[in-house]
């Protein structure tokens, strides 16, 4: 009888039995932060932090996932997605016909994200774009 009652009460609150949604861990947040920081530090024009060299930025975004993990020291279990988006809409920016996004698509996974503001030296994003780094 006790089991019946327990089952009934739990049935009243089904979300108590639902699997825990994996929350973003501090590791992933720190990874996203670190990747964004290093991208801005390494790809900026001399003396103009935040103004990225468009050619080098495109090269980095064009790398495959293992190379990106290697470059930013991420564990092999981590997936990384980097995009440059317009600042007023979520649309991904293109530069010379290339979408400024990495290969691993982000499909609404639970991910840590870091948003920084950048611009490119060749006039793309002259008003500023958002650099969105997601790790999961």
């Amino acid at each position: 009888m006790f089991l019946l009652v327990t089952a009934f009460v739990l049935g009243l609150f089904p979300n108590l039995l639902a699997p825990f949604t994996t929350s973003v861990s501090a590791d992933e947040a720190a990874q996203a932060d670190r990747v964004a920081r290093r991208m801005i530090a390494n790809l900026s024009m001399p003396y103009e932090k935040g103004v990225l060299n468009a050619t080098r930025f495109r090269t980095v975004l064009g790398m495959n996932l293992p190379s990106l993990r290697d470059r930013y020291g991420l564990p092999s279990s981590t997936t990384l997605n980097v995009t440059a988006r317009r600042i007023d809409t979520p649309a991904i920016v293109s530069d010379h016909g290339d979408r400024l996004a990495t290969v691993a698509a982000y499909e609404n996974q639970t991910a840590a994200s870091e948003i920084r503001l950048i611009t490119l030296h060749n006039g793309t994003c002259s008003e500023g774009c958002r650099l969105v780094v997601r790790t999961w």
Binding site: M1, F2, L4, V5, T6, F8, V9, L12, F13, L16, A29, D33, E48, K49, G50, V51, I87, D88, E114, I115, R116, L117, I118, T119, E127, G128
Partner: protein, 212 residues
């Protein structure tokens, strides 16, 4: 059938009572579990990660504006309206731009980074007084209220030189050192930042964004 214990009918009532009582107790336990505040970071505004991200973005806004080729941060703080005695397009000297958007890229970035995401910001200038021993004074560029306890701030330092001019639409080619900081005497132009340093430097102005 009188041998049967008289309590057999009541046992069903006891069972039902036990069932009801356990429902009550378990519901209370569930309620208590769900109302627990699990971490001190539950409120979005006070989450340390959110705050440090806001601070990085505020720094990015200042840095990107400072690197703008056509209208940089120094131009933004010299975008002065001589007749209104405040910034061009601002509401009044007390609240600066207030709820309006600051000009050009600075305002564009601030609006899309913070206002569009339900954040509130203040921007103020902090500069040396004419007499250096009097420390710093501040002047509001955008004043939207008193920051909450979870506010973060970022700042960027801009150096003004004596031979710079104001850049408002009606500016004349008058260099900064010719302005004075007396708003009421109607003689030359008025600009709140004084000439604090003898020599080519006019003043060193900290542009500070406070976001919450």
């Amino acid at each position: 059938m009188r041998t049967r214990p008289p309590s057999s009918d009541r046992s069903q009532a006891f069972t039902l009572e036990g069932l009801t009582a356990s429902i009550v107790v378990l519901t209370a336990v569930l309620f208590a579990i769900q109302s627990l505040v699990v971490t001190p970071t539950t409120g979005g505004g006070t989450d340390p990660a959110v705050r440090s991200e806001l601070q990085r973005q505020a720094t990015d806004v200042l840095r990107l504006t400072a690197h703008n080729d056509t209208f940089d941060l120094s131009d933004t703080i010299r975008y002065w309206d001589r007749t209104e005695q405040t910034f061009v397009g601002a509401v009044n000297p007390r609240i600066g731009y207030g709820t309006r958007r600051p000009p050009k890229q600075f305002g564009y970035l601030l609006h899309n980074t913070f206002t569009a995401r339900d954040r509130i910001y203040n921007v103020e200038l902090r500069y040396r007084r004419q007499n250096l021993s009097n420390g710093t004074a501040s002047y509001p560029v955008v004043h939207r209220g008193t920051p909450s306890y979870s506010a973060v701030s970022a700042s960027y330092v801009v150096t003004l030189y004596d031979n710079m001019t104001l850049v408002g639409p009606e500016h004349r080619n008058v260099e900064l050192w010719e302005y004075d900081t007396n708003a009421t005497d109607n003689d030359d132009g008025y600009y709140p930042v004084p000439n604090a340093v003898p020599g080519p430097v006019y003043n060193v102005v900290e542009v500070r964004i406070t976001v919450w």
